[in-house]
């Protein structure tokens, strides 16, 4: 939760309170955390202050330029989606195409397949990612043997820090016909002969989800564990007096206590449902499962850059952003309605 609030909280000019330690020596000179004073003393005051703050200006100027170039020019590049963009001529000498590229997009069957794959893997990842993290956190929270608890947690988020390239390699190795999973399945008689999981289109979503769960469960559990640490111990004492077993304590105390965290994270993740990226799909996919691995970003990459259809690729990007904003607004409104507080 802290991470989420950080963003909103750190908005400039947000009224800030407390911190009696930091009363400025000279009021109104450099109150780092104090309330922003209404600074409207006219132009003269403005330029006077600016000349005093030359160093600050020079320190931020290069990065403002950087922000504009690397973050805002690409947004301005959205205009390409409404042109027939050709890289040879400048951005102002392009032919306008209106909504042609969007129409092309919506008439393209491949696009719907990409959308289906994106949402499919997004929803699977959301459901199993959330469930696995909550279950793991609940269980870990109950472990009394502290050494085991510490080691399990430390080891559990190791995969979070390694790249998807490495994880893809691990997954492919484990699932290969000679890999451990096949060995186990054949030895226990579940399978007659080794199955090449990576070559089963119908299993691809599942493989991606499993890889995701393997990589992120420990990491995602951290935030739930933090929330569980804040539960009032008296609640457990009272339950113990009433004779509640530890299963029941888990179900009736721990789980309801972290409900707000679960809901906020769910909402944030639903907003990102369409932004699942393409790394996993690109690295784990192959020609045989390509049909199930094509997600929106890969589609944009293939068409936009691979086939030099820049305008078309940009249109895909815009579509994605619009869906993402709509999802966030819906979830935010929903959260407000059920009284869990808005996320933004």
């Amino acid at each position: 939760m802290s991470r989420i609030n950080n963003a909103a909280e750190s908005q400039p000019n947000l009224p800030e309170s407390n911190s009696p330690l930091q009363t400025p020596v000279k009021p109104g000179f450099s109150s780092r955390k104090g309330k922003k004073r209404a600074p409207k003393p006219g132009n003269k005051g403005f330029f006077q202050r600016l000349s005093k703050q030359k160093a600050l200006f020079l320190m931020s100027f290069p990065f403002v330029i950087w922000l504009i170039i690397f973050k805002y020019i690409p947004v301005a590049g959205w205009v390409m989606a409404f042109q027939d963009y050709k890289p040879q001529s400048g951005i102002f000498d392009q032919e306008w195409a209106g909504l042609k590229h969007f129409k092309d997009l919506f008439n393209e069957p491949m696009f719907y397949r990409a959308l289906e794959n994106t949402l499919g893997m997004g929803i699977l990842g959301l459901v199993f990612g959330t469930l696995s993290a909550i279950v793991f956190a609940l269980l870990l929270n109950e472990v009394r043997f502290l050494t085991l608890k510490k080691w399990t947690q430390t080891i559990s988020y190791l995969p979070h820090f390694v790249s998807w390239v490495i994880v893809a390699n691990i997954v492919i190795t484990m699932l290969s016909p000679e890999g451990i999973i096949n060995n186990l399945l054949v030895d226990t008689g579940i399978l007659d002969k080794p199955l090449n999981f990576m070559a089963q289109p119908d299993m691809f979503w599942g493989v991606v989800t499993a890889a995701d769960v393997w990589k992120e469960t420990g990491w995602n559990a951290i935030i739930y564990l933090a929330a569980m640490a804040g539960v009032d111990p008296q609640l457990y004492e009272a339950a113990k007096v009433d004779g509640a077993s530890r299963w029941r304590q888990m179900w009736h105390i721990t789980l309801p206590s972290i409900r707000p965290v679960i809901i906020v994270l769910l909402i944030l993740n639903i907003g990102n449902l369409i932004n699942i990226g393409f790394e996993k799909q690109m690295l784990l996919g192959n020609n045989i499962v390509a049909e199930k691995a094509l997600v929106i970003d890969l589609y944009a990459l293939d068409y936009g850059i691979g086939m030099f259809r820049y305008s078309f690729g940009t249109a895909i990007g815009i579509f994605k952003s619009v869906i993402s904003v709509i999802l966030i607004l819906i979830c935010n409104g929903f959260a407000k309605r059920i009284g869990e507080g808005r996320v933004f």
Partner: protein
């Protein structure tokens, strides 16, 4: 710890935690064992967490005979060092300016930064930008686009917000300008948070492969370990059957791409393991710091 009887519940918990440890660690140990095993022998299968026919041939191939992989290794290190240093300089400087609520453009700069967390141009416009800036097949493409992350700047700024202002005030009385205050007073006080962000940046740089794929594929010199691994993966991810064709001269020796892949995986994982204890220490404090704030 209070001595208590082990219930059935405790046993179930312990077993599930051990299961978690095993499924997390087994793949790494398995790959380590394969990377230390004779490639021809590996093909027979049955290697788990201990090599059967021990050899360093796969690592020798990377560090000895294969110039390209060695170069990739050094490029990975170079981009990690340069990218981390550049990122730290940029984010601390910007964070300091933003922590100065009296700065006339504070609101504007802050808004420009925070908005980037919510809007993004997307893949294609960014690609076009990089192309137009002439960063294709240029080392700069590893540094410039990732220079500043709004999230990191905000973490550093909230750390700065909680610093005592007394030192800064007295330096100002002595007539020090803001840049001197930043380098002489603020930076030394911010070392803990700088260490945290440095670790995050280093891990991010070390793990990147997509920028190489998209922007630096054409340059032999700019290839990285992650990208080389990705290429082998790409060539051989259906089965181990067809990889013999792709790199015949390697096959002739003691090793094959399949085993080299495992060795690269280990080499690419080891630095993460090395910074892992620090990562853990710092990000936990980072998380709690954030929690206290909210």
């Amino acid at each position: 710890m209070k001595k208590r009887k082990w219930t059935k519940f405790d046993i179930i918990l312990t077993i599930s935690m051990l299961f978690m440890i095993v499924i997390t660690l087994y793949p790494f140990l398995n790959i380590l064992a394969i990377s230390l095993n004779n490639a021809v022998d590996t093909a027979k299968g049955g290697i788990h967490i201990w090599p059967r026919d021990f050899t360093f041939a796969n690592y020798q191939e990377i560090f000895g005979s294969n110039d390209k992989l060695l170069q990739a290794f050094f490029m990975s290190i170079l981009r990690t060092i340069v990218g981390t240093i550049a990122g730290i300089i940029a984010s601390t400087m910007l964070a300091y300016v933003l922590s100065r609520r009296d700065f006339v453009f504070n609101g504007l700069v802050g808004l420009l930064l925070v908005l980037t967390m919510f809007i993004s141009g997307g893949l294609i416009p960014e690609y076009m930008l990089i192309r137009q800036l002439g960063l294709i097949n240029d080392f700069g493409v590893y540094i410039w686009p990732m220079l500043i992350s709004a999230f990191n700047v905000i973490i550093i700024r909230s750390f700065m917000d909680n610093l005592p202002t007394a030192l800064e005030e007295s330096a100002k009385m002595d007539g020090a300008n803001d840049f001197v205050i930043f380098t002489k007073i603020i930076i030394p006080l911010c070392l803990p948070v700088i260490a945290t962000i440095a670790l995050f940046l280093a891990v991010m740089q070390w793990n990147s492969w997509f920028d190489t794929y998209l922007y630096a594929r054409g340059s032999e010199a700019l290839t990285t370990l992650q990208f080389e691994l990705m290429k082998i993966l790409d060539n051989a991810n259906i089965s181990s059957g067809d990889i013999t064709s792709q790199n015949a001269e390697v096959i002739a020796g003691q090793t094959n791409p399949q085993s080299i892949k495992m060795a690269i995986t280990i080499i690419a994982t080891v630095p993460i393991l090395m910074v892992y204890p620090f990562l853990q220490k710092y990000f936990v404090t980072g998380l709690t710091l954030g929690a206290v704030k909210s």
